[in-house]
Structure formats: structure tokens, C-alpha cells
Symmetry: C2
Subunit: 329 residues, 2 copies
């Protein structure tokens, strides 16, 4: 076996792996697919005057969660929310329906299934999106996935690639809190106590899909490029800058850090900036705004945090802060 053939997908890294998949997918793509693999949603022209959006995200036992038997309800809620977050990141999209797939051990109690379905139905009502179908399979470990199909008007979606050098980068939603919640819930900070515990654990288990905010950023013409913040701010800015053919200077102040995260980092002697930058699973929105629309943006979204600026070139700098982002592979 050549050394090239022995290279694993892990050694390649998720981002480069996705590039290869994009390249491979092109040969199968027809004219109907306006945006293929690589953005938050696929965008397909259907029917002539409308767009269909589609996204799918999976949660795997051992990778995204542990002890699934104790988490039927929160798993269903999070699974739906992280998928709706991808719809929110496209701007004016409206979810039409979802499919839910579960691969489960045969020993799972029926009560688990009841609780999972009850939670999923409750969340579906909350976000006004019906469950239309799915699949069940047997598996050693829990694998849970949802696919969301949505729709949008032509010319109304915001992709990752619309940014230009000089555009300001903003974030909506807390940064780095989900990772802190993960550490408090599953370790290594399982025994750390404090008032910060409840909000941080909730940030990990119950992210808020910003459907209304995404829609407003689109309808008011404020954002030039957007994605959801699923892999931490550094990676979000990196993906957005790469897709837009730009570099970026990431720069944020203490106002970008939620009080609970600041308190957690003080208690555990961690650098809050590395959480803001490399957190992961926050699922807010990261988007670019042309300088001419900054004032309008700040009026519409007083809570939006300025976290950097697109620049020419290809370099994404963090002002010396270590990102240490999470790599799935």
C-alpha cells in the first residue's frame, strides 16, 4: 500500500475532506442544484420560481454525546434545533418538513422511544415544522439524524460566499458557552459548581435556532454572507472567508463573552478567549455586513457582537489567540 493510500480521512482534516467531496460531487450535479455540498444547506431550484433548501445533521454516541439512555428528550430537542439552525443560516428560509432517522441498539426500552418521540413532537410544534417520515435501523451505538427541507424565494438566500474585503463580521448568540456546558456535563469539569452551571449546560443541550434573526438579516438586506456557528468562531470565520475568497482579522473584546462563561473560566483558570474562538456547537449566526449598513445592523440587532473584519488575501488571523478548534476527523 502506498503512503498516499494509507493516509486517513483524519489526517486530511474535515475541511480538506469536504473540499474533495465537493469536487467529487460536481460531476453528478445537474443544473437544478444552485448550491451543492459545502454551505449550511443545499439550494435547489424548484419549482421554477422558488428554491428548495435541504440540510441534514447527525448526532453519534461517543462523538457528540454519551449515555443516550438517560437523554431521550434532550437528544430529540438538540437534534431538531441544530438542523433548524442550518436553515436559519440561509436567511429567509422557511422549514417545510423534517425526516428523522434513528439507528439504535435492539435493547433500547420502548419507554425511551416514547420519550424521544414526545420530545420531538413538542419541538416540532414549537418551531411549526411537521415530522413527515424517517427510518429505523439496528445499530450497536445510537446514531440520530434529522433532515430538514425548507423553501425560500429566489434571490433571498444568504450563502457563505457573498463577503467582500472590508465587510464587518458580526455574531449573534453566545460564543463558546456550549463547549463549557459540555465540559461541565460530561467532564472534565463535571464536579465544578457555580451559578454558571445551569446556563452553560443549557447552552450545550438546547441551542436556539435563530430563524427569525436569519430571516430579518435577509429581508432587511443587512448580511452579505452568513453561516451558523457550529464549529466555533475561528472555523466559522475561516469557512466564510474561504468561501468568499477573502482573509479575515478576528478581533473581539470582553463584551463577546457571556457572563456565565467568564465565571466558568475564572473558576477553572481557563482563557475565555480560547472558548469564544474554538468553542463549537454554539449554533448562533456569524455573518458579514458591508460598512455602509453597520448602523442599520446595530439598530436592528443591538445584541450583535462585532468580532472582526474581512480583508484581502487568504490569511485568517486571530491576533495571537490560540483557537484549538474541534476537528470531527
Amino acid at each position: 500500500m502506498s503512503s498516499r493510500a494509507r493516509q486517513t480521512i483524519s489526517s486530511l482534516g474535515e475541511s480538506a475532506l469536504l473540499d474533495r467531496i465537493r469536487a467529487g460531487a460536481q460531476s453528478g450535479i445537474g443544473g437544478r442544484v444552485l448550491l451543492g455540498p459545502g454551505d449550511d444547506c443545499a439550494v435547489v431550484s424548484f419549482p421554477k420560481d422558488r428554491l428548495l433548501l435541504a440540510t441534514t445533521d447527525e448526532m453519534v454516541e461517543g462523538t457528540h454525546f454519551l449515555d443516550p439512555l438517560y437523554h431521550a428528550a434532550p437528544l430529540a430537542a438538540k437534534l431538531l434545533r441544530i438542523n433548524l439552525s442550518d436553515i436559519a443560516a440561509m436567511g429567509s428560509a422557511k422549514p417545510l418538513f423534517i425526516l428523522c432517522s434513528a439507528a439504535l441498539p435492539a435493547t433500547v426500552p420502548q419507554s425511551w422511544m416514547r420519550e424521544f418521540m414526545k420530545s420531538l413532537a413538542r419541538e416540532c410544534r414549537l418551531f411549526s415544522v411537521p415530522l413527515a417520515g424517517g427510518n429505523l435501523a439496528r445499530s450497536e451505538k445510537f446514531h440520530l439524524s434529522i433532515t430538514v427541507i425548507g423553501t425560500a424565494g429566489k434571490g433571498r438566500v444568504i450563502t457563505r460566499s457573498g463577503g467582500k474585503p472590508g465587510d464587518l463580521i458580526f455574531a449573534l448568540g453566545a460564543l463558546g458557552t456550549a463547549r463549557a456546558g459540555f465540559e461541565l456535563y460530561y467532564g472534565p469539569s463535571k464536579r465544578v459548581q457555580g451559578g454558571f452551571r445551569a446556563p452553560l449546560v443549557s447552552a450545550f443541550w438546547k441551542p436556539e435556532p435563530m430563524l427569525k434573526q436569519g430571516a430579518a438579516l435577509s429581508s432587511k438586506g443587512l448580511a452579505s454572507a452568513m453561516l451558523d456557528n457550529s464549529d466555533g468562531l475561528y472555523k466559522s470565520v475561516l469557512f466564510l472567508a474561504q468561501a468568499s475568497g477573502c482573509g479575515a482579522d478576528i478581533s473581539f473584546g470582553p463584551e463577546s463573552c457571556a457572563p456565565a462563561l467568564k465565571a466558568y473560566c475564572a473558576a477553572t483558570r481557563k482563557d475565555w478567549r480560547s472558548y469564544v474562538l474554538g468553542g463549537g456547537e454554539d449554533y448562533g449566526l456569524v455573518f458579514t455586513v458591508p460598512p455602509s449598513r453597520e448602523k442599520k445592523l446595530r439598530t436592528a440587532f443591538p445584541g450583535a457582537k462585532l468580532v472582526g473584519r474581512l480583508v484581502s488575501g487568504r490569511k485568517v488571523s486571530t491576533g495571537g489567540i490560540r483557537a484549538n478548534p474541534y476537528e470531527h476527523f
Copy 2:
């Protein structure tokens, strides 16, 4: 823990489990979903004058296949084909695009990914359906899934529930051959040699989605109810009869058995009828035809095999043949 709470999804059985999921899903379903969990595809009204169809199917290492590292290309082909088979089973549906998700160990070689993507792109071209997106996740075992989104004209889809007592039950495609192929490929008949090996193994790895046949059955108004034959003839007829509120008498002659399966059963001293009845993964079409259209059906599809008849009541009889169908849970 009560004895009820201790009951597993395995003890409930896949069919009853799906019934419970259907019941749970209703509370989240909006008016847009015309057909929710339980048929081959979900059917959603969108836009007003059209239908969207959606289906997802998963293949899991240890449940559906072994040794994935040696099967990159055939896994991609089978994964697409079993999903397109669900689209075919709805009648006149046309696939619009697919999403593909893979949960893989970090140690998977990049060459595996290249081969998988190359095969998937080739199959996408073959069936004229573009790959529009998907997801990658890390996992201990291989979990591969595809979602297909399709479209159909209103009133043109054939569900499982349109059968009536007296309707004849027909099958298109070989029956029981995939299971024989599975036994030859993965065991217990791994060492059994004969001319039947190649066609049977091919039936297991490369099922033919009957998109053209499904479309013709719809456009010619021949089938009153239909599904794809993914769990063996007995279960297919059972699901169709249950959805149609009927019973069924299953009855078939030796002409329903492919020559290769007959030869395999002779070599291994198995009863070919139990393969035809409880095979699984054949992915042809099973459908009902009102007696008044039998002649037209036989003219249009000379290869269609008569395998039974819907009757009033709820009982599905097999004339004493043991089905022994495969239960995922």
C-alpha cells in the same frame, strides 16, 4: 422499573414500533403533510399544485454489511439504489436531488472516500439525480445514509393503502435472490460454488430501482396500491394489506422463483419458497391490480408474477409456507 418500562424496542417488533411512531408523529404534523411516516416516501403538498416526496434509508455496519473497507464502491451504489427504490414505489415520482451522510471511523483511508464518492457520482449520473449535500461525522462503525427528495403531480402517487378485497397481488423483480446472495457472500454459504453465485451476489449488492416500471404502473392506472419489496414478499404483502384494511392470501408457483435461486436451494437443500416469502432486500415492486385491469397489466408487464390476492378480513395467509422474515429490531 416496571415490566412495561423494561420492554425493549426489539421485543415490540419493527412493525408495531413504526405504528407507535406514526401515532406520535401525528401531533406534530401540519396540513401540508399528506402522507406521514409509514409509506415508502413521505408526501408533502408543495407548491400548491405539486407534491414533494422524501425518503431516507440507512445502511449500518454489522447490521446490513460487514468489512466496509473492502466495499466502498458497491456500498455507494446499493445505498443510492435502495433509496431510489422507495421513490419508484410511489409511482410517477421523479427524483430531484439527494443528500448523502456518512459516519465513519477516523482511520478510514482517503482512498476509500475517493472510491465511495466516485461510485456515488457514477450512479447519480446513471439515474440522473444530483448529489446536493450531506453530512460527515466521526463514528466507531460505518453508518451510511441517503435522503432522496422527489416530485410528482397531484393525484399521481400510489400509496400502500389503495388496495381492495379481490385485487390481485403482483410482484416485479426477482424474489428472495438478495438473501441467497447475502448468504453466499457473507455466509453461511460462503463456500458454496455454482453458476448461481454471480447473479445472486449481484442481486444482493446491486438491486435495480424500478423507476420506469413504477411510473408506468401509475401513468397507465394499473396499480391500486404499491410498495417496494425491501423486507421480503410476506412482509410486503402484510404491510400493503394492513394499510389497505384487508387480509391477503399469498400463493405463488415455481415461476416466481428465479432459476439461480432454485439452483442455490437445490445445492444447499433449502426450501426456495421460504426465500421467496421471507427474503428481504430484493427491492422490486409489490402491487395490487383490480381484476378488471389484469389483462392490461399482463400485456404491459409480461414478467409480472401473480403472488396472491387481497381478501376481506385481516388475516394474511401463506398456505402453510413458513415465512421467517427478517426483523431489524
